[in-house]
Amino acid sequence: MNERFEDPRLTAHVLGELDPEATRELEALLADDAELRRELESIRETTALLEQELGGDSGLGLGEARRRAIREALPKPAPAVVRPKRRRWVGFSLAAALPLLLVGASMLTMTRTKTDEKDRAAPLSTWAASGAFALDESLGARGVLSGKLGRKGDDGRPQDFDTESYDKFDENPFVRVAVDPRSTFSVDVDTASYSLVRRFLVQDGKLPPKGAVRIEELVNYFSYAYPQPASGELFTVSTEVSSAPWASDHRLVRIGIKAKDLDMAARPPSNLVFLIDTSGSMDAPNKLPLLKSAFRMLVEKLDGRDSVAIVTYAGSSGLVLPPTRGDQRAEILGALDRLEAGGSTNGGSGIELAYAEAAQGFVKGGTNRVILATDGDFNVGVTSQSDLVDLVQSKAKGGVFLSVLGFGMGNFKDSTLEKLADKGNGNYAYIDDLAEARKVMVEQGAGTLVTVAKDVKIQVELNPAKVEAFRLIGYENRVLGHQDFNDDKKDAGEIGAGHTVTALYELVPAGGKVPGAGVDDLKYQAPRAPSPAAGAGELMTIKLRYKLPEGEVSRLLELPVRDGRAPIAEASADFRFAAAVASFGMLLRDSPNKGRASYADTVELAKGAIGEGRDQALRRELVQLVEKAERLGGR
């Protein structure tokens, strides 16, 4: 390696750190040395890249609770001094109060000014020179108050209240097999609940509201090593049975579905419309800038087969980018970069415009999708929520699906977004930071883009000879009527390329004690007699119906499940880990069914099941989240 390239003056020169004499010396060297000049240029490129990548927002943030804690730590203002003369007194106390008011107001309404690269590099010495506690206008504060001390509503005025909403729901109870031997539900691959929980625990430093905790989404956040489909197969279904860690006399059945991975070369073309919320409330580092980064990652995966259009909805909704071929990256990324937040939300007409664009560019046999990115603040004005849901549902029937990406906090409408993605046949993810954006858009981007099977439903029949009662863990929002299973007109969830789906059943073995109040025996019917099949030693039979993405008639798969009586210690790492995640979810919800679950046990269980797979780092992160919840005074 050439020694003159090791000269630290090169980098110092690029960064403007050399004094005049050293600069002259270096420039003399550079004048005669073309190679050295090229080296310098290369260093310049690298430092520019580093400034750009590291100087921007990381997607990390201090949530509102933390800012409050910081404010609490400030010294309390001294009481106003009382002056002897009455008139003076009034004047003085007003004058004393005003700065406090002003400061208080300014803390709540720091407005975001345009970032100026120059501002970011404002030298510290200027600040120091004017005294540590003096106001310094020249500092510019990077032009940005990254993360605010108060929140802005759509009209730019501060909001002091939390308008997030999470639907509360009761968990699925234990059901006696003698009363109802069937369980029917729609498959779901949403992962938003996990990142929401993470955001509460990490950025806000508090426990999440129970309504935000959907156990099946926590479990489904992770990938599991289910058998890969062979060529020609769309997906595989596999099961594993062991004991429930929180109730050792109960059995736990894990059902796993693995969809085939995408063959990137042979993937179908995508017709995508990004429907982006650019209302005033999106003006925060963890919203619009993070959203742009996320979409950038997706755009990098597209090519000439694909088409992208961008529609915004705020005040007046608009077509920011007409359908553009996927390889015109500069145009697409340019349009993304130019998006700015402002105006109030009118989600309704933006959605209609987005669907219109998608319809115009409809690709038969391809993926047609509207991807909605928002903080959920639907000030829809004309359109009601149920009208929106109906619209989304009818468009999905016509082949244009809707996926939803949630961002931000403070006015996040989890319940609305989940419903829209559900009816829109798409998945719903909550993006709390850049790493999550990468997971959703890149690692699992194939699943967002390409549907392998739609209207996927599961119906399980339990064997009374082996099972006294059962409980489906999670999926409360996905439960279907039993007759919906065979009704092809009833919508259900879809599975994207490469996705895995996991469902857990907790079983009370035959003869065991069933938690909860029982149901009276029927007066007009005798208890059912078991059929010969009940003697075959099966725990249950799983039936699965699905349709091809463009199909209208469902296909049926059937799979019996036996219990190998393996104790939990012998179960696979994937099984134990999924059980640990479910246990974590039940603890967060303070579930009536959590049995003997504890945070400490859950940590041990999870730690022992991290395994060697690709999502080790994510699994370790879960362990930390469990520990965090415990410290926050979890029950």
Partner: protein, 180 residues
């Protein structure tokens, strides 16, 4: 400062410090203790700023913030049971602070973060103070208790290492060729 400082001045000061340094400190903390614990550490840092004596901080806010942040981060690491860090601030190369593991790097956000993962902790700290916090060499020197020329050397080495990782250039001796 002789006169007692007005509480409003302190409030303003902290507000501006937050605006200027929240992101760089979060990034820095995340490089030490991971994304999950970074907000805790940074919150503690700003709480400490609220309570600090003016004399401590005046004139070298960045150095103070990053030093406190690092200390809190080290506390956090000790609490979570990782290897004890060396107390000597001059030597950041404790066994646990080397290049990020292959798995962690594979999970890194983007190629720049991956490239950062190949640096040792001292190099990472200098890079973040320069490109994330926008500090000058002298300020970095103060924050890390090194000489400015040390900083220049570390930064140059780090930038070269990053270039190699990004594959932008081969640092081998190029054949001398006559070019127009």
């Amino acid at each position: 400062m002789a006169a007692p400082e007005a509480p409003d001045a302190r409030r303003d000061f902290v507000t501006r410090a937050l605006a200027r340094f929240e992101q760089p400190l979060l990034r820095y903390a995340a490089s030490l203790v991971g994304r999950l614990h970074a907000p805790d550490v940074v919150q503690d840092t700003f709480v400490a700023l609220c309570k600090a004596e003016p004399g401590e901080v005046e004139g070298h806010l960045a150095a103070w913030l990053f030093r406190v942040c690092k200390n809190r981060a080290l506390d956090q690491r000790r609490r979570s049971g990782r290897l004890a860090e060396l107390e000597n601030e001059d030597d950041m190369e404790s066994p646990d602070s080397g290049p990020a593991s292959r798995v962690e790097r594979a999970q890194a956000l983007d190629r720049v973060e991956r490239a950062l993962g190949s640096l040792n902790e001292q190099q990472r700290q200098v890079v973040l103070l320069k490109f994330s916090a926008g500090l000058k060499y002298q300020e970095i020197a103060e924050a890390m208790q090194l000489s400015a020329s040390n900083v220049g050397f570390i930064l140059h080495t780090a930038v070269n290492a990053i270039r190699r990782e990004l594959g932008e250039t081969e640092p081998v001796l190029r054949e001398a060729r006559s070019l127009p």
